[in-house]
Symmetry: C3
Subunit: 167 residues, 3 copies
Amino acid sequence: MAGAMVPEMTTAREFTIHQYAVVRRTASLGRGVIVYPFSQVGEAVLLGERVVIGSNCYIGDASMIGAGTRIQHGCFLPKRSRIGERVFIGPNVTFTDDRRPYVGNRDYHAQPPVVEDEASIGAGAVILPGITIGKHAMVGAGAVVVRDVPAGATYYGNPAKENGGKR
Amino acid sequence: MAGAMVPEMTTAREFTIHQYAVVRRTASLGRGVIVYPFSQVGEAVLLGERVVIGSNCYIGDASMIGAGTRIQHGCFLPKRSRIGERVFIGPNVTFTDDRRPYVGNRDYHAQPPVVEDEASIGAGAVILPGITIGKHAMVGAGAVVVRDVPAGATYYGNPAKENGGKR
Amino acid sequence: MAGAMVPEMTTAREFTIHQYAVVRRTASLGRGVIVYPFSQVGEAVLLGERVVIGSNCYIGDASMIGAGTRIQHGCFLPKRSRIGERVFIGPNVTFTDDRRPYVGNRDYHAQPPVVEDEASIGAGAVILPGITIGKHAMVGAGAVVVRDVPAGATYYGNPAKENGGKR
């Protein structure tokens, strides 16, 4: 994943940022990237080639998103998220990075998510801190993911289990 | 439902689009429509009279929304959604249309949602692809709807069941 | 909580509102408040000192938010929400105020949420109408909260129970 995570630098004409999107100057955008309206892309974010950031998303500082990944409307990615190539993230998916999210928590150390190549995360899923979602895994719509999802597995439910816990 | 789905064409003064909303020119808006800030209304969408689109929503291309329907903050509707009249859709509700949402999926065929007149969908609900929600049905807040909801029924839980599975 | 809910009036230079945020003129903002892009702050809202409203949020009219509280991306708060001091509200959290959310409901009487000081509400949680979340309580990510959460308690799951129902 690492190699692809550093997109070629491109000229302004090689990607598309909507007028009502906010992309920090220190972000690096690959060729063919599209950022839809009302989304933010933070400082030092790397977006690989052809990444699509849907509307009303927040991509935290220093996140890396691999080539061909598509993130739909309303998603939240914390700082330093690591998202592979050709990952699908459905609308209103929420990632997290803090197990004890109190204001003024002095023990805070961020546990950002890792999503491996070609995984798929269904609409409205919530992913707890420090989770890794394996290659080509599928997380069902509305799942609340509380432990790592192995490569190729399908997890859903609240809490999410493999095949929903055999239902 | 079908008749009401084609709103009368109106002059620009008969509806209200916030300065920070994006409404495609090919969308048709009925009298009294309001589109709140930071929302998008896609190509060829039909919004019936007095439809209200809350803030930070995405209404996919070619969707049809019946007269009097209210959609609250943060909702996502995929392409070709069919929403009846006087439907209530709470905040951060997510509809879907793709059972196998992988990037580059060649078997993709969209299964947009159908919501019949006067149904009510609670906040934060997630609706799986191809679902029909019947007339005057109620989907509870936070429900994950995995099968059709009959007219007049109340479904909630994850997965959503009638009356929450008799809890 | 009440005292802190009326922030000192401040000059325009003492808080920060992003260019692409919508804050009503009748809102009162304390010193050090930040409102991020694509968010709305309604009429007569009171934001205490150092409150942070993340991106793509909606803060309903006449809500009161205590000093030091942080609300992350994509949250929805209905009218007259009462949020204490130093509360943490994670991304894509949805509060509600209407038990029978039908269009044209004549029996509608709002039941806005109350969140006491130092509580923490995890990402993607959904809070049903009329709920009180007690001081320093924690609501887990993805929880659907259907009853009051006592002070200091931890609730999660759908429906949310204390310690997830002893799982």
